[in-house]
Assembly symmetry: C2
Homo-oligomer: 204 residues x 2
């Protein structure tokens, strides 16, 4: 790779670090580093230290594996949440997205990955035993599988379905269909087909 002379080793190191982030190339990294140069020193210190503090201080919920400042996350420790439903997701970001909707009052279980033999991730690498333990503890009535529709996601969903089907809980999955505001014309055949297959009574 052609390496530019940045005329300052400090600048070069900062550009190296920014461009190590996903989706940030060396041109953007330079722009960001020069932006920081124009900020007051205390702001730049707060900027740099925030990531170090996050990495050092981060905890994961002992129950659902969600990122948390405590050993039990705010969802799991919230007594107003519906403890009879667990929504299984791949990542922390999925939890944040669902929480954002304000439509879900149950609990979560963050797998932190999906079964992917190509990447060497097997069922044993995911907290599936912990999920089964939560499900058989008695309180749970429904498990929602909210994994992606990729090959790996479907494999994981199927594996979980097999694992949990003996426990007597209801196993559901989120609805797939044409998005609000989307044109039928631009919706892929699979999604459109599923949305017709899974049609339901019109509610107003």
């Amino acid at each position: 790779m052609f390496r530019q002379n940045y005329s300052s080793v400090l600048l070069e190191k900062a550009v190296d670090e920014f461009s190590s982030l996903p989706g940030i190339g060396r041109k953007s990294a330079l722009r960001l580093a020069l932006h920081l140069l124009k900020q007051p020193q205390e702001n730049v210190e707060r900027f740099g230290n925030s990531f170090i503090a996050l990495r050092k201080g981060v905890k994961y919920c002992n129950v659902c594996n969600m990122i948390s400042d405590e050993n039990i996350c705010s969802v799991c420790s919230d007594s107003s949440r519906d403890r009879s439903i667990i929504c299984v997701v791949e990542s922390i970001r999925d939890v944040l997205s669902i929480e954002n909707t304000g439509q879900y009052r149950g609990l979560y279980h963050v797998l932190g990955g999906i079964i992917s033999p190509m990447d060497g991730v097997g069922p044993g690498d995911l907290p599936i035993k912990e999920l089964t333990e939560r499900v058989v503890s008695g309180e749970v009535k429904e498990v929602i599988l909210a994994l992606s529709t990729s090959m790996e996601g479907e494999t994981t969903s199927f594996y979980l379905y097999k694992k949990l089907s003996g426990t007597g809980v209801q196993i559901t999955t989120i609805a797939r269909g044409v998005g609000f505001g989307d044109d039928l014309e631009y919706t892929d055949e699979l999604t459109l087909g599923k949305s017709i297959e899974n049609r339901h009574l019109f509610k107003f």
Copy 2:
């Protein structure tokens, strides 16, 4: 603004800091913060500290205002550079872009801004006195104005032209025209017009 609950104050602070950067929204900021969480702690420390070290240790060349680790930058202290030409640019990034071409062996003068009455930047806020002093010192034969063609850039170029025209040095500006590989069809009228006006003998 709607503020998402990130379930961790540390995460929220890191997202705040990332999204304070230009061109990075809260969704990207979250993605970047979660990416850092997956890195080894020492990498994250190196990441955060690189910006603090840059901000604390940065110097600017006493001659041309380019970013530098020393008091005189690597271009100004390079005895093989042509000291009879000074290229005037707006920003550090412009110097890096020109250096990248490998086509220029003269010196630079970084203004760090352009005259912009709307933003309260007058000629007195830019290192124009320093430029004049360099020009009249005797060694300089040519000053290349490589400022933008915006209203403010043209104003600054004109101001510098007026300031320097009495010193006897040759004042030039970079060629504007149709870019290599660009279609005439998609070139704006002003650029295409200038490229015809400023045509030169065909060299092979």
